[in-house]
């Protein structure tokens, strides 16, 4: 049974990692209009610890996108400097939506694998049932 349960564990870790990624994407979208906000980037890394399942994925440390912030012209804003500009966020909604779509597709792929493993194990048990 260990092969099947390991496969279940690994695909679950994939789903969890993609859900975590979607969480940061939603954070970026929610803060798209926050002045001075830098978009968060999620990294993925393979789990290699002794008590973890080998081959499983988990999200690593979050890093901030270091591209320059948007300069927004709005002299009425209290944050604006002498020239009337202030720093917006560097979130590009198009990129965030594409990222969200990618996370959702990867999630679906892991879900399919999960289903497949369950089907395989129950098909194996069907052999004994005649």
């Amino acid at each position: 049974m260990t092969v099947f349960s390991d496969a279940l564990k690994v695909s679950t870790s994939g789903m969890r990692a993609q859900a975590e990624r979607l969480r940061y994407v939603s954070e970026n979208i929610a803060n798209a209009d926050t002045p001075g906000y830098r978009r968060k980037l999620v990294s993925f890394e393979e789990e290699l610890g002794r008590d973890q399942t080998p081959g499983a994925v988990s999200t690593g440390p979050v890093s901030l996108d270091q591209t320059s912030l948007d300069r927004i012209y709005d002299p009425t804003n209290p944050l604006s400097d002498e020239s009337g500009y202030f720093d917006g966020s560097n979130v590009n909604l198009l990129i965030e939506v594409a990222d969200a779509r990618e996370a959702s597709r990867s999630y679906e792929a892991n879900l399919k694998i999960f289903e497949q493993v369950r089907q395989m194990s129950s098909a194996l048990m069907d052999l004994l049932r005649k």
């Binding site: 049974m1 099947f4 349960s5 279940l8 564990k9 679950t12 789903m15 969890r16 859900a19 999960f114 369950r118 194990s121 129950s122 048990m125 004994l128 049932r129």
Partner: protein
């Protein structure tokens, strides 16, 4: 050729030990380990379900451990059915 009935009785007694259940310690320990493993899986899924309801773990862990338990229960039930079936087959044997 006429065989004395005592000869038949003697050979029956001599061969009787073959039908006695062997005292193989590895088989019993194997089955007890299997049962323990099964119980641990059930307990783990119970704990995970409880933690998920209390907001302790994420739903992914819950689904994974429930699927794993389903797998274990399915295996156990199938093996038990097979054992019971074999036993009934023995009972039906004409003596």
């Amino acid at each position: 050729m006429q065989l004395p009935s005592s000869f038949a009785a003697q050979s029956y007694v001599a061969n009787r030990s073959a039908t006695a259940p062997g005292s193989d310690p590895s088989a019993s320990s194997y089955f007890s380990a299997l049962a323990n493993d099964f119980a641990t899986t059930l307990r783990q899924s119970d704990e995970t379900a409880m933690a998920a309801m209390l907001g302790g773990t994420d739903p992914h862990t819950l689904v994974q451990s429930l699927a794993q338990t389903e797998l274990a229960v399915e295996t156990a039930v199938t093996v038990r059915n097979k054992v019971v079936e074999a036993y009934q087959e023995l009972l039906r044997m004409p003596v």
